[in-house]
């Protein structure tokens, strides 16, 4: 018994064949136990490709934006903790500092930033994590 070659089975699974070709492959598969597993493998594979959802680019961008903002803010806070002169600047004009670091200075963020009492931040302040978390939440 001659068998169906692999490319044809792939084409069958992907719906690439004409109706007569499709019928020919289908009737062969009814009687050929050797070709069936490979045909099934291709059917599953094509089903897998078809189920994969392509996420729209704007959805990715919208999802990524807050992460990038948070990452920038984390880095900025790290710098503030390490640099007292920068903390002074930040306390004077937080809006300018945030903008300079690519962080959108929303009113909520500015309010939270002021509440941080930047100029008095200390490297190992116990309450700092909590305050930073609050600040992060204000970015939502």
């Amino acid at each position: 018994m001659s068998h169906i070659d692999e490319e044809r089975l792939a084409a069958f699974a992907a719906g690439l064949l004409t109706e007569p070709e499709r019928n020919e492959v289908a009737s062969h598969l009814q009687t050929c136990a050797e070709c069936r597993p490979l045909a099934e493998e291709y059917r599953e594979m094509v089903g897998g490709i078809r189920m994969w959802a392509q996420v729209p680019a704007e959805v990715v961008d919208d999802g990524l934006r807050p992460l990038v903002q948070r990452a920038r803010l984390h880095r900025l806070l790290g710098q503030l903790l390490a640099d007292p002169s920068m903390r002074h600047q930040a306390a004077q004009n937080p809006e300018r500092l945030l903008a300079a670091h690519g962080v959108t200075p929303t009113p909520q963020l500015l309010a939270a930033f002021k509440e941080l009492d930047i100029s008095r931040l200390e490297r190992f302040s116990g309450a700092l994590d909590e305050r930073i978390t609050k600040l992060m939440n204000s970015m939502e």
């Binding site: 959805v59 999802g63 992460l67």
Partner: protein, 177 residues
């Protein structure tokens, strides 16, 4: 094609708050997250978008606690399942939905998503012409004529090229399993 950065390396960079690492991590798993929401939970449009965004925020917040036991994808899957069930619970408060739990039919669909993920990894390893033709046909649902124009090939060869590329994809999948 340059070798992709490992998840662990990428995660270490994300934890150092490197923007590019976050971009790369999101790009790597965006379709995976979206497919779980869309296929596993039937979420569409704004609902899928909201779950996608919320999942990313949860990943950002949860990553410092990720212990790197097992695959990152398994951890991510749990995060996304929790966000999806919480989202459904908000929409259908009368149904008994428990965080991260799914019914057997849904479990099967989610298993299919996992297998489909392996396929996309294999697809990434294929040579560019095959990646392109598979993407145009399956993901962009372009007709033969448009594919032929894009790839500058005779229309009559689109089907045979696609079939050949699918056999190559199968070989790659087998290598990954």
């Amino acid at each position: 094609m340059p070798e992709a950065e490992s998840d662990d390396t990428l995660i270490a960079r994300c934890l150092r708050h490197e923007e590019e690492a976050w971009r790369a991590l999101v790009e790597r798993y965006a379709s995976y997250i979206y497919t779980i929401a869309a296929r596993g939970f039937g979420l569409e449009g704004d609902d899928a978008r909201e779950v996608f965004q919320e999942s990313l925020i949860k990943v950002f917040e949860g990553l410092p606690g990720y212990r790197r036991e097992g695959q990152f994808r398994a951890w991510l899957r749990r995060v996304v399942l929790n966000v999806c069930t919480a989202s459904l619970r908000r929409r259908r408060p009368t149904e008994a939905l428990h965080e991260g739990m799914v019914d057997p039919a849904q479990e099967e669909t989610l298993e299919q998503v996992e297998r489909a993920y392996v396929l996309t990894q294999a697809l990434r390893d294929l040579e560019a012409p095959c990646r392109q033709i598979i993407s145009l046909f399956f993901f962009e649902a372009q007709p033969y004529q448009a594919i032929a124009t894009t790839l500058a090939i005779p229309e009559g060869t689109v089907g045979s090229r696609l079939a050949r590329c699918l056999t190559k994809l199968r070989s790659k999948v087998r290598q990954l399993r």
